[in-house]
């Protein structure tokens, strides 16, 4: 065992870290988040040039990374800057396209070079966190398919050029069999996206599919593999947002510690109060726990217990992440409740990550199920 990153990966982390530190102050971030796109295309191009998108994909897929630790180090840095550029949606949809036909792989190349944007349109108004829930339909018509349905809270769904859409060929709404994935241009007839901001300043969309015609070659991979491909995409996505939460947690703890040292009440820095010291000690302990859970999940992505480790990580991020987000606000007092002071924005991100790919209880339930199956 070795708990050090390779040199390459350390360089990747440094590069991402430097970009965030030097070019991503919180004021600028809020401005980009409030723009029409909800992010900066210039910034995205620069990130592509630095290789931050390519780092998320394997060489076969046209990237130069794609291992769990690559994803983890990049997203941890993104979390430290509350980066609003659409890394997550492109990771989710790009991972699926990597298993597609040549023209689909060519689309992925455009993603890695920063020219093309993707989103994964999978969740639906009634899916909650059930991955197999697909009520949208794909009906064979001529030599293609007609898609109908609605997709909910599609991350970065309003700026994507292409959508990877899940739809059902057969079976009941929660069957794992019978799902297919399609690559659909976002401007195709019958695709309507209603974009909006999320509480933490990111973008998502409700997407309606009304008699959308796609050709046969729009299907990504084999229909039998669609569920497994979604599982892989979600495993990577869960790892990514958890590592992002870790970055945000580090920032919360750094800011809170700094504040404990500088804010004076009753004539002393508030950090002198043991009531606060002990809680800071707990926060720091949990930060290390989460860091270890990220390592467990990233290092076991190719192994049989991938999903156990992913669920363990997400449960811990939901549980301890919430504690750290709430305590960071509480230990600051009123100042943390303001828009102007950054810690609240990091806290919001940590809490909203609990609503992606399953919350704390969803993953607890998964862990219990894995235990029963063993």
């Amino acid at each position: 065992m070795d708990f050090n990153h390779t040199d390459d990966r350390r360089m990747l982390a440094d590069m991402a870290g430097r970009l965030v530190r030097d070019q991503y102050d919180i004021e600028k971030r809020h401005k980009m988040a409030a723009s029409d796109d909800g992010f900066s295309r210039e910034m995205w191009a620069q990130m592509a040039e630095l290789g931050l998108i390519g780092a998320l994909f394997t060489e076969e897929a046209g990237g130069f990374g794609g291992a769990g630790f690559d994803i983890a180090v990049v997203f941890e840095e993104l979390g430290r800057g509350l980066v609003v550029e659409p890394f997550l949606s492109n990771l989710l949809a790009g991972t699926i396209l990597a298993g597609g036909n040549d023209s689909q792989k060519a689309v992925l190349e455009g993603v890695i070079s920063g020219e093309t944007l993707l989103a994964l349109a999978h969740g639906e108004p009634a899916s909650r966190y059930t991955l197999s829930h697909v009520g949208s339909t794909a009906v064979k018509s001529g030599d293609g398919y007609t898609l109908n349905g609605s997709k909910a809270v599609v991350i970065s769904g309003d700026t994507a050029d292409h959508l990877v859409v899940s739809a059902r060929l057969s079976g009941d709404v929660e069957d794992k069999e019978g799902i297919a994935l399609f690559l659909v241009p976002a401007n195709a007839d019958g695709v309507h996206a209603r974009g909006y901001s999320t509480v933490d300043g990111y973008r998502a969309a409700e997407i309606a599919l009304k008699d959308v015609s796609v050709s046969e070659t729009a299907m990504v991979g084999d229909a039998h593999d669609a569920y497994a491909n979604l599982e892989t995409s979600f495993a990577l996505g869960t790892l990514a947002v958890s590592a992002e939460a870790l970055g945000a947690i580090e920032m919360c703890i750094d800011m809170t510690l700094e504040y404990l040292k500088t804010r004076k009440q009753f004539g002393v820095p508030i950090g002198k109060f043991q009531a606060l010291q002990h809680r800071m000690a707990d926060m720091m302990t949990e930060r290390e726990q989460i860091r270890s859970a990220v390592i467990n999940a990233a290092g076991n992505l190719d192994k049989a217990d991938r999903d156990w480790n992913i669920s363990a990580l997400k449960n811990l991020v939901g549980r301890s992440g919430r504690m750290i987000a709430e305590e960071s606000i509480q230990m600051h007092g009123g100042i943390a409740m303001t828009w102007e002071y950054a810690v609240g924005h990091f806290a919001k991100r940590i809490i909203m990550i609990d609503h992606m790919f399953g919350d704390v209880d969803h993953h607890l339930e998964q862990i219990i199920k894995f235990g029963r199956a063993a």
Binding site: V153, A275, H355
Partner: protein
């Protein structure tokens, strides 16, 4: 001990229920229930209805025109108001300043200000905290210097809730630098229209404008606006903090929030079944209900002891801690009940007159912002750490 309501209490409950059924405008309760932002006009409308019915100050002593409600009556009214979806009464005038004026104000001040609070002429805000004086309130710096018939005020207050709507502000100011910091503080009433008073908004982390900075530059305030004696303000401020014991636990609010959460949990589906039937969710909700049932009784016990004349004690601090943490845990479970639909947020949808289709279920939009906004409750009104310090000091004999 008798946990049954007496005949009078039952009659009171009936009376109160009838009042809410008949007098609470639907358009207000709809707004409250759907988490829309209330305007000053909404608040004024409800305030006037309560005042007409004599409920606005029913908890005041009879010599000041109240009905001297006891603990049980206050609890019943609080619960029924919340369950009916009534707006929360803005507390600064009727619940905070009034008791201080009744206890320490001059006859003239009582005669002048109390009726204006009731009829809604004056809206008040609370000017205690300063940038450097939060938990350590006694370190406040804003000064009031006596010059003939006036005090000249200089300094800054902050976190002033609803200061943007208020006509008047009651302030703690420094009138002396001698002795202990607590010994040089005075309690003074300031008309916000006086030249030199400037209100600047502070935007909260979820984007709402609820609190303000209030700046004072050479603000001339007549000496008649001093409450009680010069340099005794700390005593009055503390009186205010411990006197207003009802409401601190937020029992009615918690009950209404749980009702709302149950409604959401019946509507939300998990694997095709109502979320309410999910054992994980049910376990978390049940724990909250267990805590709340006990807290409701604790609250009534404390209020009853107070109206029987017991001096204020650390129980108030317990209610503050338990009440805020319980309601925060309801907010937390409510956001989780929504699943991914906790994420979208359309700020304009909180305004009246927004007519677009909601994103996701119609109850979703305010849930996450409420969760974040209510983090304030364990910070203000004496932070929960300060409350624990009080309990430690008063109960442990260490």
């Amino acid at each position: 001990m008798d946990l049954n309501y007496t005949e009078e209490e039952n009659a009171f409950l009936e009376e109160v229920r009838t009042f809410f059924a008949e007098k609470l405008p639907r358009q207000l309760s709809d707004k409250v229930r759907s988490g829309k932002r209330l305007t000053r006009e909404d608040q004024e409308q409800w305030h006037a209805i309560l005042n007409d019915a004599g409920y606005l100050n029913a908890h005041w002593p009879t010599e000041f025109g109240g009905q001297g409600w006891n603990a049980i009556q206050r609890d019943l009214f609080d619960v029924e108001a919340n369950v009916a979806g009534a707006p929360r009464v803005v507390p600064f005038g009727v619940n905070m300043l009034s008791p201080v004026l009744m206890a320490f104000g001059s006859k003239e001040q009582q005669a002048h200000y109390l009726p204006r609070i009731l009829d809604g002429t004056d809206w008040w805000c609370q000017g205690y905290s300063e940038p450097g004086a939060g938990s350590d309130l006694a370190s406040l710096k804003m000064t009031a210097e006596r010059q003939g018939d006036h005090y000249i005020l200089n300094g800054q207050k902050t976190w002033t809730t609803l200061g943007q709507h208020a006509d008047w502000i009651f302030c703690l100011v420094r009138t002396s630098k001698e002795g202990k910091p607590q010994e040089g503080i005075s309690f003074i009433l300031v008309d916000m229209k006086t030249p030199g008073v400037e209100v600047r908004p502070i935007i909260l982390l979820e984007g709402t404008h609820e609190v303000n900075e209030v700046w004072f530059t050479d603000v001339k305030v007549p000496v008649e606006n001093l409450v009680g004696e010069e340099n005794k303000g700390w005593t009055y401020a503390k009186y205010l903090l411990v006197h207003e014991r009802s409401g601190i636990a937020g029992v009615g609010d918690a009950l209404a929030s749980i009702d709302h959460l149950k409604h959401i949990a019946r509507d939300q589906k998990k694997d095709g079944k109502p979320l309410a039937d999910d054992p994980f969710f049910a376990a978390r909700l049940s724990e909250i209900e267990i805590d709340l049932a006990a807290m409701r009784t604790t609250n009534m016990r404390v209020m009853q002891a107070a109206s029987d004349g017991a001096p204020p004690g650390p129980q108030t601090s317990m209610l503050k801690i338990k009440g805020t943490e319980l309601r925060q845990s309801i907010n937390d479970l409510t956001r989780r009940a929504l699943g991914p639909y906790a994420m979208p947020f359309v700020s304009e949808a909180l305004e009246t007159g927004y007519n677009e289709e909601p994103i996701g279920p119609d109850y979703a939009n305010p849930v996450a912002v409420d969760y974040f906004n209510h983090r304030k409750t364990s910070i203000y009104g004496g932070s929960n750490e300060i409350q624990r310090n009080i309990i430690s000091k008063m109960m442990m004999g260490l």
